[in-house]
Amino acid sequence: MSLNAKTPEGPLAEKWNKHKFNLKLVNPANKRKYDVIVVGTGLAGASAAASLAELGYNVKAFCFQDSPRRAHSIAAQGGINAAKNYQNDGDSVYRLFYDTIKGGDYRAREANVYRLAEVSVNIIDQCVAQGVPFAREYGGLLDNRSFGGAQVSRTFYARGQTGQQLLLGAYSALNRQIHHGKVKMYTRTEMLDVVVVDGKAQGIITRSLTTGEIETHTGHAVLLCTGGYGNVFYLSTNAAGSNVTAAWRAHKRGAFFANPCYTQIHPTCIPVTGDHQSKLTLMSESLRNDGRVWAPKTVETAEKLRKGLLKASDIKEEDRDYFLERKYPSFGNLVPRDVASRNAKEMVDENRGVGASGIAVFLDFADAIKRLGKDAVSAKYGNLFDMYYQITDEDPYTQPMRIYPAVHYTMGGLWVDYNLSTNVPGLYALGECNFSDHGANRLGASALMQGLADGYFVIPYTLGDYLATIGPKPIDANHPAFAKTKQDVLDHVNKLLALRGTKTVNEYHRELGHIMWEYCGMARTAEGLTKAKGLIQALRADFWKNAIVLGENEEVNASLERAGRVADFLELGELMVDDALMRNESCGGHFRLESQTPEGEALRDDEHFAFVAAWEYKGDNQPEVLNKEDLNFEYVHLTQRNYK
């Protein structure tokens, strides 16, 4: 099938404006005749639901948490990028666009990324108007800091809790519309399927997580804002509840899943301590503004550190290897995430890792504390230092942090065109749930930017065009597709509840995570991926025989919820491996050992792989079909990424 990205004609800088003019409008009096379903209430979902309700549409919003404010956007720490150029340091929309395309290793669509950079400036204005308390200078104007992959300071922040503040801003806008009756909010409700009628998405099937009731909801359009799928790795920085179910069920109803193998392994996370571990905690990239990453120069020193015979502060300057500063003098500690992560792994592979496990490197603030004073460092990063202390029982003001890469974000997701529409008309994907803007590697502080860009400033325009085309006729809830889809959901739930084997769902999940991390993590090979495919298939088959799922449907049943999500991860995992195997090149976070430069950097193969891989579901246990969207670069010149 050929994929039409519907990228507008014309010069890059004029595409979005021109497109907005060409999009059909829905007359204000007709907007109230349309129902729009928004699944997920993170930055993308809350901002979309609020903005669409403000325009006059009737919105039904859903989240599985007990309140829309809990969505995992809340945990984003470091900041949000915007091309404001308030610092007078040479930033511009074009530079943000260029940095993002290059940071993504030339695997994103030019027009989308340019639009993202363009609307980034509006986001900051919007958030300030809502009362988001961004960090400020003494003169009362907004402060900025630097993030990886950029040589300008364009990141706006609210201490180490930027995601929380932006989400609470969007949540307040959502609350206002709930108050006005324009948004009906469903909490503790999980979407389990999308209803497709004559090729168009017209509703969803949900399960109440308090009563187990399976419900049907109709809508003229369905927006999936359900986040990423990093929890396929079991251990990640995602929330325990983050899952792929909504996106995956949509995929099984026809929506293509794009670039599933593009996952971001974030370099600065607190290392794993034992098998009991349920999640990994991120230490914001903003710490690399002032923290210096290092490992001992020799294996001998590293061994002494691991045995506790030496402390980090005992090690002399000349015995330390500040490997990022050494290898990448121009970007130093602020190289993009994929580059920083691979280098940390290299240190550990060379047996120069630290901590009891030897699977960590240092992030050291001693110089920053000397230069700025402890109070200044605490004002910038205090909450992160406290968090580190709570988890590790070590004081980062006196000893360097131990950090190691962990799964953090997924650049892949549902395939969408320029309008954020999936290939199923009426079904849209926003934020991390789609694949669109980050290519093969996302730059820091760009996730918040994309989530809010999609919700506040893109979908309110593009959705109207579709709605105007289909007209305001009410959706017929009696169409047999609704009853059929509801029955499918019930059958699936009952199939899960019939599992009374010997192994817990959590044990399957952890095992899947091990396979994914080992073979589809920071370094991938054809051999390893082939092996992983077999392992996942076997694990999935075993799950459907031997898993234990307790309780009934008609009650609060965490066991059942968990089982449904892990069952979907067990299918997604195989597709990720297929995608990673097919993409016989390295790019961004996808590192195939077979494809690297003599210096060990990711080596792309633009001739054969400058495309988006959009996978098409063909039925249970059938191989998925690959559809390609070629990426054409008219403005940036494809080169080997260089941060030296």
Partner: protein, 261 residues
């Protein structure tokens, strides 16, 4: 590492739903590593219950890094456990010692009915926010961000109020089950910022009215909320809210009905 592992006794509140009376049930938690978080310890207990075909203990949790506000356990008489300024998910087992008995209850407040076991319904908090916890601006058409200069001290103080995670520990800690710390954090944040001035007084009134309607108690200045708040929201917020509320009641009666945002 393993020699430090602990054997603990848990007294856990089990309750099928809001309609059924609950009771304490005792469980053994053996071989617990001091590096585990409190929730990871419960994960371990639940895994062993599932293996015995017994229903796992239900509790709310999500981000497991102290920011989403979903976790909510009342541990040994303290919301989020004995340590200050952290949530339950940030509480680590090194805080406890081998052989200890730990009592785990849900938040107890009439306005937070139990859903199951340790999970309670905090939707009253959402309804209070919906009553006025916002600045009435639509998407688009707002001024440039730097056209609004805000003194750093004001911005920082507004941020301190804005760090509330809506977990409900303040209510759980209060003998009156008062939600005033929670409500005042939002009233203060928006009331201090220039953007929040147009609706400052009506906001205080609408949110307080909803707080009362939900059945939360009044504040009698015991300060338990402040002591137990994982984000260290201070009582000053309540003073600010009272100021705005009474100003509106005494001098600004005309503002009562202006919240049409």
């Amino acid at each position: 590492m393993e020699q430090n592992n602990m054997n603990l006794t848990l007294k856990v509140w089990r309750q099928k739903n809001a309609q059924t009376p609950g009771k304490f049930v005792t469980y053994k938690a053996d071989g617990i590593s001091p590096d585990m978080s409190f929730l990871e310890m419960l994960d371990v207990v639940n895994e062993s219950l599932i293996h015995k075909n017994e229903e796992p203990i239900h509790f709310d949790h999500d981000c497991r890094e102290g920011i989403c506000g979903m976790c909510s356990l009342y541990i040994n008489g303290h919301p989020h456990g004995p340590k200050r300024a952290i949530t339950t998910c940030q509480l680590h087992m090194r805080t406890f010692h081998d052989g200890e008995t730990i009592t785990i209850e849900p938040w107890r407040a009439a306005a937070f009915p139990v859903i199951k076991d340790l999970a309670v319904d905090r939707s009253a908090f959402d309804r209070i926010q919906q009553a006025g916890g916002y600045i009435s601006v639509n998407t688009g058409g707002v001024p440039d961000a730097n056209e609004i200069a805000i003194p750093k001290v004001i911005a920082d103080e507004a941020f301190n109020s804005a760090t509330c995670i809506g977990c409900g520990a303040c209510v759980a800690a209060c003998k009156n089950a008062s939600a005033m710390l929670f409500v005042s954090a939002k009233v203060s944040q928006l009331g201090m910022l220039p953007q929040g001035q147009p609706e400052r007084y009506s906001r205080a009134q609408s949110m307080v009215a909803q707080m009362d309607a939900e059945g939360f108690g009044n504040c009698t200045n015991t300060r338990a909320c402040e002591a137990e708040c994982p984000k260290e929201i201070t009582l000053t917020n309540i003073a600010r809210m009272n100021n705005d509320y009474f100003s509106a009641k005494l001098f600004r009666e005309e503002h009562i009905h202006e919240n049409n945002g």
